[in-house]
Amino acid sequence: MRGPRALWQAWVRRSRTKSPWIVHFDCGGCNGCDIEILDTLMPRFSAERFGVINVGDPRQGDILLVTGPANLRNAAVLRSVYDQMAEPKAVVAVGSCAAHGGVFRGAPNILGGVGELVPVDVFVPGCPPTPERILEGVIAALPLLAEPRTARQATGGPSPMSIVMLEPREEEVVRVPAS
């Protein structure tokens, strides 16, 4: 029999992991990932079943979805969006560009991956990743929301850095019917 305090804490942890409000930040990407992120809210992928809401306001968000390579003009904006979010929060870097600059690595206005600017918790690879993978990235970040980062590190909770890497799926493989 658990005490009311333990019950309340269990309820809080449950609530925090079941209500990920998303802040989407395009740090200089090509639109591919950004559109696929919006696509996760569509009927086929239906991200709302995990409690996902796409909020426009960083102060109200829990998960920061960053797309695109970090460019010079957005560096300060990204930093300030991250700082405006309240703990517990997590950062998911969506797409190859967000991971390491992708095809734009080395271009004049590009700093590299968004990891240069904010601490990334989950990397979702792909150019662009499919909505399923983006959703998996969000789901992988959910346990990190159970407690604030400092508490997480103190109690040895889930690792602050877990990388999502997935094999291509059956439906992603091109099949040509035999002639």
Partner: protein
């Protein structure tokens, strides 16, 4: 003044419990609402308990620096809104309750407008327009109830024979009020759960964490207030009340999903046009055929 006896204490405890539970049940209703909306868009919706999860999460977020004036206004807003609901539940004066609820919403508008963000300020001025639509309607409803029961006390209205049945068009006014409380189309112009509008989150733009949770609770009390008014009018025939809520929901959800967001001018005309006309018809018929006059 004598010390309260045990029955009085019990009644007080019941009142406090009912007031505390009122917003929680509204949360459940909103959970169902999100599921139905999702189903209309062929999506799998969130769990029914989602509004509770959201509220708990917001309330337990680590706090961000907040505008002190806005924060105190928000606290006062929730206290007054809860007070208005408690007043009706305790069988108190309906007119007073409507005015207290109006004051609560004015405090919320002040809280939204107290911050720098132009989005919040525009949201606040639109919230004011919603108040402008709903407050006269709420007063008309209270007057119509009073006309039937012969008294403005909620206890007297509850004891009278279901006013909704005697005042047929009053249901329409209550429906409009419920749609406003739920911020359903066309009354979704000040804020919205899905931030895809020109004002981002409108009046709640600058609120976060615990303070957003407070604003949410205040909003739930506002909805609870309308639901309690509907319940009051249909105690003798609960099915009528449930039917009214269900019908309002159906109309509101269908309107939400087949119509674009209205501008504030059309919201004003729809609100006053339908709700006001229905309330006036109800008042006149109540005066002619009701049990007691004013």
């Amino acid at each position: 003044m004598s010390l309260p006896g045990l029955p009085n204490l019990l009644a007080l405890a019941a009142l406090v419990a009912a007031t505390a539970l009122a917003p929680l049940s509204v949360g459940l209703l909103l959970g169902v609402d999100r599921r139905v909306t999702a189903a209309m868009q062929l999506r799998a919706g969130p769990p029914i308990l989602q509004p509770w999860y959201d509220l708990t999460k917001l309330a337990t977020k680590t706090s961000l620096p907040v505008d002190r004036l806005a924060a105190s206004l928000l606290v006062a807003h929730v206290v007054l809104a809860a007070g208005a609901v408690a007043l009706v539940l305790a069988g108190g004066d309906l007119i007073a309750a409507v005015l207290v609820m109006g004051a609560a919403r004015v405090l919320f508008i002040l809280a939204a407008g107290a911050v720098e963000s132009p989005y919040a300020q525009l949201g606040a001025s639109r919230e004011l327009i919603l108040l402008l639509i709903s407050e006269p309607l709420l007063l008309l409803v209270a007057i119509a109830y009073g006309g039937v029961a012969g008294s403005f006390s909620a206890a007297a209205v509850a004891a009278a024979q279901a006013p909704v049945l005697t005042l047929p068009t009053l249901g329409l006014t209550l429906g409009v009020l419920l749609a406003i409380a739920l911020r359903k189309s066309p009354f979704d112009l000040a804020t919205s759960h899905h931030a895809h509008q020109e004002l981002v989150k409108g009046s709640t733009t600058e609120m976060a964490g615990f303070w957003l949770a407070l604003a949410e609770v205040g909003h739930w009390y506002e909805t609870a207030f309308v639901l309690v008014l509907i319940a009051l009018a249909s105690l003798a025939a609960p099915l009528v009340g449930i039917g009214l809520v269900a019908a309002t929901y159906t109309v509101a959800i269908v309107a939400d999903n087949t119509l674009p967001r209205a501008t504030w001018r059309s919201a004003l005309w729809i609100g006053w046009g339908i709700g006001g006309t229905a309330a006036v018809i109800a008042l006149v018929t109540g005066r002619l055929f009701g049990a007691g006059g004013l």
